[in-house]
């Protein structure tokens, strides 16, 4: 249980309020320094030569012509990597620069440093690389079968997770099976990979970069540079969105290599095309599901096989596999579960983290199955789900007890009962029709459908990982006012963590003025900005730092006023004695003293899952969201317009209600993208659409209004009872929209995103 806290409710801009983000005005004025905005006197520009082939052996590299180009300072290959030429989040299997083999189209082969980005681009074109092109391995199921080339020592299976619960031979009255496919989605953050590396005279380096986890970058960069950790200092530059795509390294090592080699600051900025090659994507998946159900509508068993294509390098595939397996049954009570989930190496682009990873792919399959079973039984899809929904006290297929609220039935019920949008008028505004101002219909051939879905996501890092964050908090008097300065290494990527940090300190200590110190590696590890974990873990660390600071302040006050420490408390920024009431303002207690505490904070521990049975208390917390989607479909052209997208989500405690809604709206939009438009299209291992012209993300015309219910059922194990918010809405929005398209058209639609030709059959 969480300790009782001395939080003062109703503190201005404290927790539970819509406190404004401290970086908002700078961002709105165009004065916020993103990683691509950095500039240094005497800096040069870096560029990357990438493989045009998904699979080839390198037989020769000739740098002569590139080196001759005026304005070029350096051309580097793997021979110039002083440390370990392999890096990776879970496995060090990815070369900083290719040695003798390239395993995906876009793999970095060489680097150029030059006086102008155009000079660097031209020099890249002058590097001659000879390739012995091989037949790529492009299918995950083939990879699991063992056929095709072996791409890494140890074979092409990155990880296999089985889940075994109950009777593997269970039978049922009714059997419903389906095969589902999820396309490769891109994070499509707007701020491209970029940063500035500045060498120091002692051979150390400062890197200013947009990332999700400074310390894991620092570890990998230092290893590649062959430097001790202390000589590689990272500072978070402004981050233009992340969504998982900045968990892996992109230009971090490359810019440092060039900077140390040339002895000048080096800036690297990917353009949009390079960005599509420069970060990992969401794993495409093939999923085979079979459910057994009684004629009364109770789920008896699930048998599933899930194939996740990890592409050329492992990245976070292991964790993605574990999520898809452990959450593969969805938020339902199923007595017998038999799941096998594989993540593979292929020659497709590397896949890793994207919002909701593993849970998104499984969610599309199990929710499609729920609709199919409900239709088979002649039941309403919400009623069937509710009959089988898990709740607090349920046991997951991993054997883990769900020991916090799990209001799956209520979430579904809430979205079902929301008001319906008006039907299409007889003479609609074309902007409200599928196709919009393309003027492709005035309503003829347009049909409406409704779909529902619910999803489950683990929050924080799982499987026994030592998951913690560090917060340093300093309190002092500046200009007759108490001021708190909070310092963490946890990455603000747009979600609003720095606002939450300020809110926690205001509520805990009653200090209104809170400065957020620049985020860097001079303070301890903050952990990753992923797995919906930062408000939970870094929020928890800031709360714990407040408690430590409060204890020090009270000790200081007891000494200063010669009173028993146990009689003193701090209430709304004032020192209060049990016996005599308010004694002093914080300003007087502190006087010229500075109180500073640094705290590491961990959530409750988890366990690895058994590699044979998949059993174990693997997860910290579960998050849930449900969606209802209403769509209009032009059946003649296969165009879809989502008319309304409603959501209910349990967030435990809405630390900043406005930011919570922003997460739900933004996460739902990314799910809409995966439902109807977003897919990196791969042919023979090559990306066919690496641009915003050809890879479409939702515009303001594509996103419908959302009616959202935010539930606050506290999780007794979490700080303030809060739950991670960012990922759950990305899971259920996709299957809800596809279900609505099915309802409108009567088509089976087993693949997402749904393309026009899937609807028209042409």
């Amino acid at each position: 249980m969480t300790q009782e806290t001395a939080v003062t409710s109703g503190v201005a801009d404290g927790i539970g309020t819509n406190a404004r983000r401290p970086d908002g005005p700078l961002k709105a004025k165009g004065q916020f320094a993103y990683s691509s905005d950095l500039w240094h006197e005497d800096m040069i520009w870096g560029a990357t030569l990438r493989s045009p082939h998904p699979y080839a052996h390198i037989t020769g590299i000739d740098l002569t012509e590139a080196l001759k180009l005026p304005g070029v300072y350096a051309v580097l290959t793997h021979r110039d990597v002083p440390g370990t030429n392999l890096y990776g989040l879970e496995h060090s299997d990815q070369p900083v620069l290719a040695v003798d083999t390239v395993r995906y189209q876009g793999e970095p082969v060489a680097l150029v440093g030059a006086d102008h980005p155009e000079t660097a681009r031209r020099a890249i074109k002058l590097i001659k690389v000879e390739y012995d092109v091989r037949e790529p391995l492009t299918d995950a199921e083939t990879a699991v079968s063992g056929e095709g080339p072996i791409l890494h020592p140890g074979g092409n299976v990155v990880r296999h997770v089985p889940i075994r619960k109950g009777d593997p031979n269970a039978t049922a009255d009714i059997v419903v099976s389906g095969e589902y496919e999820v396309g490769m989605q891109d994070q499509a953050f707007l701020g491209p990979e970029s940063g500035l590396a500045v060498p120091a005279e002692d051979g150390s380096i400062d890197l200013y970069v947009a990332t999700q986890w400074l310390h894991v970058d620092q570890r990998q960069v230092a290893a590649a540079l062959g430097l001790p950790i202390s000589k590689v200092r990272l500072t978070l530059a402004g981050v233009g969105g992340a969504f998982g795509g900045r968990e892996d390294l992109s230009m971090q090592v490359h810019s440092c290599l060039l900077a140390l080699h040339v002895g000048k600051p080096v800036k690297m900025v990917y353009n949009r095309e390079e960005s599509f090659f420069g970060h990992v994507h969401r794993h495409p998946a093939k999923l085979y599901y079979e459910h057994g159900v009684t004629s009364a509508g109770k789920l008896v068993y699930l048998k599933a096989k899930i194939y996740l294509d990890g592409g050329a390098y492992a990245s976070s595939t292991g964790a993605v596999v574990a999520n898809a397996a452990t959450l593969g049954a969805g938020p339902y009570d199923i007595p017998n579960v038999n799941i096998d989930c594989w993540g593979t190496y292929t020659n497709n682009p590397p896949c890793g983290a994207m919002r909701g990873f593993g849970a998104v792919q499984a969610g599309f399959a199990y929710e499609s199955q729920m609709d199919k079973i409900a239709a088979t039984l002649g039941m309403h899809p919400v009623e069937f789900r509710a009959r089988n929904a898990m709740a607090e006290g349920s046991v997951m297929p991993t054997g883990q007890l769900v020991d916090a609220p799990a209001p799956v039935v209520e979430l579904l019920d809430r979205v079902r009962r929301k008001p319906m949008p008006a039907p299409l008028p007889a003479d609609p505004d074309i902007r409200q029709l599928p196709g919009g101002v393309s003027n492709t219909t005035h309503g003829e051939g347009v049909v409406r459908g409704i779909g529902y879905a619910v999803g489950i996501k683990n929050v924080c890092f799982s499987e026994g990982f030592d998951d913690y964050s560090t917060a340093r908090l300093r309190i002092e008097v500046i200009a007759d006012e108490p001021v708190a300065t909070v310092h963490t290494a946890a990455a603000e990527v747009g979600q609003g963590l720095i606002t939450i940090e300020q809110q926690i300190i205001r509520s805990e200590l009653g200090i209104h003025r809170v400065t957020v110190h620049p985020t860097d590696t001079s303070v301890g590890n903050g952990g990753s900005t992923s797995a919906s974990r930062q408000t939970y873990v870094t929020g928890g660390a800031v709360k714990a730092a407040c408690e430590a600071v409060r204890a020090s302040l009270l000790t200081l006050a007891a000494r200063r006023y010669n009173l028993p420490r146990r009689d003193l408390t701090l209430v709304d920024g004032k020192l209060v004695s049990d016996t005599s009431g308010v004694l002093a303002d914080l300003v007087d207690v502190l006087s010229t003293e500075v109180v500073e505490e640094t705290v590491e904070w961990r959530h409750r521990s988890t366990e690895p899952i058994d590699p044979v049975t998949g059993q174990g208390n693997a997860h910290v917390q579960y998050g849930f969201a449900a969606h209802r989607a209403i769509v209009d479909v032009d059946t003649e052209l296969g165009l879809v317009r989502v008319v309304q997208l409603d959501c209910a989500q349990d967030v435990g405690k809405a630390m900043n209600p406005q930011a919570v809604l922003g997460q739900i709206q933004g996460g739902s939009a990314q799910g809409l993208g995966l439902a109807v438009m977003e897919e990196i299209q791969i042919v023979d291992g090559k990306i066919r659409n690496p641009s915003f012209t050809d890879y479409l993300i939702p515009t303001i015309l594509d996103m419908p209004p959302m009616d959202i219910d935010v539930l606050e059922n506290p999780d007794p194990h979490a700080p303030y009872g809060l739950r991670g918010v960012g990922e759950p809405p990305t899971i259920s929005s996709t299957p809800a929209i596809v279900a609505a398209i099915r309802a409108a058209t009567g088509l089976a639609l087993t693949r997402t995103p749904v393309r026009p030709e899937h609807i028209t059959g042409t």
Binding site: A28, W39, G662, I700, L701
Partner: protein, 155 residues
């Protein structure tokens, strides 16, 4: 080549400009105005939107030389000193800024809309901002911000 341009009311000159450089590159890398963002360089995302002689344009699609002797107004030129423009204020207040990378372009586009159409309907707002991509917000709070700014500008 040399480019002379008026930016946010100031006469500016840049030397040694390569003919292939865009107005966006000129602003960001030569004139010290990185507020306009580069997110696609194809005119698809709107992050680089600036006024060119009072018309909003994607500055990534305008050659630097095309701005010669013309008037450019960027997101940095909207605020009056420390005071935010009402559109900027509404974006911050409504929660329309998350990562903020799209904000400069969206704010210029919304500023243009609200100075052309005093009380735009939701379909008008959506149509006017359809060329500006945002990946964080799902656009709901951007609509809130534009409605709020519209009410204040016309109050």
């Amino acid at each position: 080549m040399r480019v002379r341009v008026t930016v946010n009311g100031e006469d500016r000159t840049a030397d040694d400009v390569w003919e292939g450089e865009s107005l966006l590159y000129l602003l960001r890398e030569r004139l010290g105005l990185p507020g306009s963002k580069n997110a696609c360089e194809q005119g698809e995302c709107g992050s680089c939107t600036v006024y060119l002689d009072d018309s909003p344009v994607c500055s990534c699609l305008v050659a630097a030389g095309q701005a010669q002797h013309r008037d450019v107004r960027t997101v940095e030129g909207l605020a009056q000193g420390e005071a935010l423009d009402p559109v900027q204020e509404a974006f911050v207040e409504a929660g329309a800024v998350q990562c903020g990378f799209c904000s400069p372009g969206l704010i210029v586009a919304a500023h243009d809309l609200l100075h052309r159409v005093p009380n735009p309907s939701d379909p008008e707002i959506r149509e006017a901002l359809a060329g500006n991509l945002c990946r964080c917000t799902g656009y709901e709070k951007i609509l809130d911000a534009v409605r709020l700014a519209g009410r204040r500008i016309n109050a």
